[in-house]
Amino acid sequence: MSAPLIEARHLKKYFDTPSGQLHAVDDVTFSIDQGRTMGVVGESGCGKSTLGRTMIHLLESTEGQIYFQGEDITRIGKRKLRSLREDMQIIFQDPYSSLNPRMSVRQVIMDPLKRSGRFQGKSALDAETDRIMNLVGIEERLKNSYPHELDGGRRQRVGIGRALALNPKFIVCDEPVSALDVSIQAQVLNLLQDLQDQLGLTYMFITHNLSVVKHISDDLCVMYLGQLVETSPSDEIFKMPLHPYTKALLSAIPSTDVHNHQERIVIKGELTSPIEPQPGCRFVSRCPHACKACLQHQQLEELLPKHFVACCRAKELYELEGRVVK
């Protein structure tokens, strides 16, 4: 098994807000192997984006460590950070706000190239820009267009091109397709997969669309209110969700299968506030299986091989269904 490319250990990110400390990411530990795609799912506001941004150092973490290629990058100097940034990139959700409306397609892609200093001279820069545009499938004629002249799919390609310009190893995709219509979404997802195959990229793919995440990711993290509640290879989770929240989440996806309506677990209530949360399982107020023990801190445990879950009742429930933990 290959060594993890990037790994987070007990990562925390708190924000100070007027009404108290907001635990956006609270003690998250996971790792992503080279060349794989890690999906991160969870409800709005559960800290997915914050996690992604903290991983690539766009946000300073509050506590915990991040190892990139085995090296702790949580507290590194400015110079080191510069070179690190070239290895780690991000693609954003909203193709409309993630491009500077005043820069042409060419400028957007060329800008990071120039800054990296890897290409000297105008012709080299131009050539590289063309190469990247070609790579992400933007027509040559659109070179000098401005973002507002492009449709969503093309804009998202430009965003991907910008991320690729620095030749990164690791890319955080923060809901890169959720603003797109399904027909275009498919184009972009295909492109991302193609690029991964060609360049051996490692993705952290954030989304709340479970069909998409199942389609694209190798591993999966399920987050709830800043905490990781379940992680495993994604097929595993879809086959056998262990955490009550994951179960509810998966059953909530409206299926296009008109013939077999699956039994739906509708959970009550909504996400509570992540500001100064109570200790213990954060899902407890909505959980149909909550008990006293849930008020204790929940440890992420490997219940099944490579399948971790943070629920004290997971094993019990799993066994209730007549299965046996190996």
């Binding site: 766009l58 620095l166 603003a179």
Partner: protein, 295 residues
């Protein structure tokens, strides 16, 4: 949250589809703005080509011909010292427009600098700057201008400064608010992720994208400044004679308000026309830059 942004993004997608026209085209399509632009162009033309258009000297006196009524040789008559009123109006346009625009520009520049610093660095610096502006804004603008004009003495450069001080805070605040909202936009984050430096982010990404509201604000404050110049002249802090500035013309014409009322009415009307055209352009620009206000 995330799904809200989807909705927003989709809305925006629609907007973008709709706003294929350029800002300028849309400005021209705005009927009020079009009239404003035409009027303003005429005024600018008058100002620039005053020397060519008029056979008279705006400063040279012709005392024998003082207070002449409107006639063919003097289309708007002459003033109390026999100077051709139209000629003075045309030359005066230079000063009035220049003071209006330059003092706005000056306020804009200072506002942008302080606002940028304040918005981007935040914290203590921001607090200090903003509190200082709180203080400046607690003093009525015109009063501030009067006092500054007196401290500096009234030549036209100082007058510009006096007129601009009161507006700096407004621009700074607008820019700051813009920065605060743009700072968290994803393209700024993307720039950061690609190793973009602080200043580059500020002046390449943030400031240019914050300009739309600033420009709108500026176009609507030029007319305000022109009016304020007139008010200052009225109080006796205008531009030095014999410079044909409209406010000063108005104020000296006031002595003749009943004997020769055109000396008050004509500069007044020109001020109104200028301010009116600029305001219409400002309205048009706001509509053109802000698709939300479109009909």
């Amino acid at each position: 949250m995330s799904s809200n942004t989807i909705v927003a993004a989709r809305d925006k997608a629609k907007k973008h589809q709709a706003s294929s026209m350029t800002t300028l085209k849309r400005l021209w399509a705005h009927s009020g703005a079009r009239i404003g632009i035409i009027l303003f162009a005429v005024l600018v033309f008058m100002a620039v080509f005053a020397g060519v258009l008029s056979p008279y000297d705006p400063i040279k006196l012709d005392m024998a011909n003082a207070n002449a009524p409107i006639s063919l040789s003097h289309l708007l008559g002459t003033d109390e010292l026999g100077r051709d009123e139209l000629t003075r109006i045309m030359y005066g346009a230079r000063y009035s427009l220049a003071i209006g625009t330059l003092s706005t520009l000056m306020a804009l520049v200072f506002g942008v600098i302080t606002g940028a610093i304040s918005g981007y660095f935040g914290g203590m610096v921001d607090n200090l700057i903003m509190r200082f502006f709180d203080v400046l804004q607690a003093i009525p603008n015109l009063l501030l201008s009067i006092i500054v004009a007196i401290v500096l003495g009234s030549n036209w450069f100082n007058l510009m400064i006096a007129l601009s001080v009161g507006h700096i805070a407004g621009y700074a605040r607008t820019l700051r608010a813009q920065i605060l909202s743009i700072r968290n936009l994803e393209y700024v984050e993307a720039a950061k992720a690609t190793n973009c430096g602080l200043w580059e982010i500020l002046f390449k990404y943030i400031v240019p994208n914050s300009f739309a509201p600033l420009i709108v604000q500026a176009t609507s404050s030029v007319p305000g400044t022109i009016l304020a110049t007139a008010s200052l002249a009225f109080i006796g802090l205008g531009i030095q004679a014999p410079t044909p500035e409209w406010g000063a013309m108005l104020s000296s014409g006031k002595d003749f308000i009943r004997m020769d009322p055109k000396l008050v009415i004509i500069p007044g009307i020109f001020i109104i026309i200028t301010v009116l055209s600029l305001n219409s352009i400002g309205d048009g620009l706001r509509d053109a830059l802000d698709p939300k206000l479109k009909k």
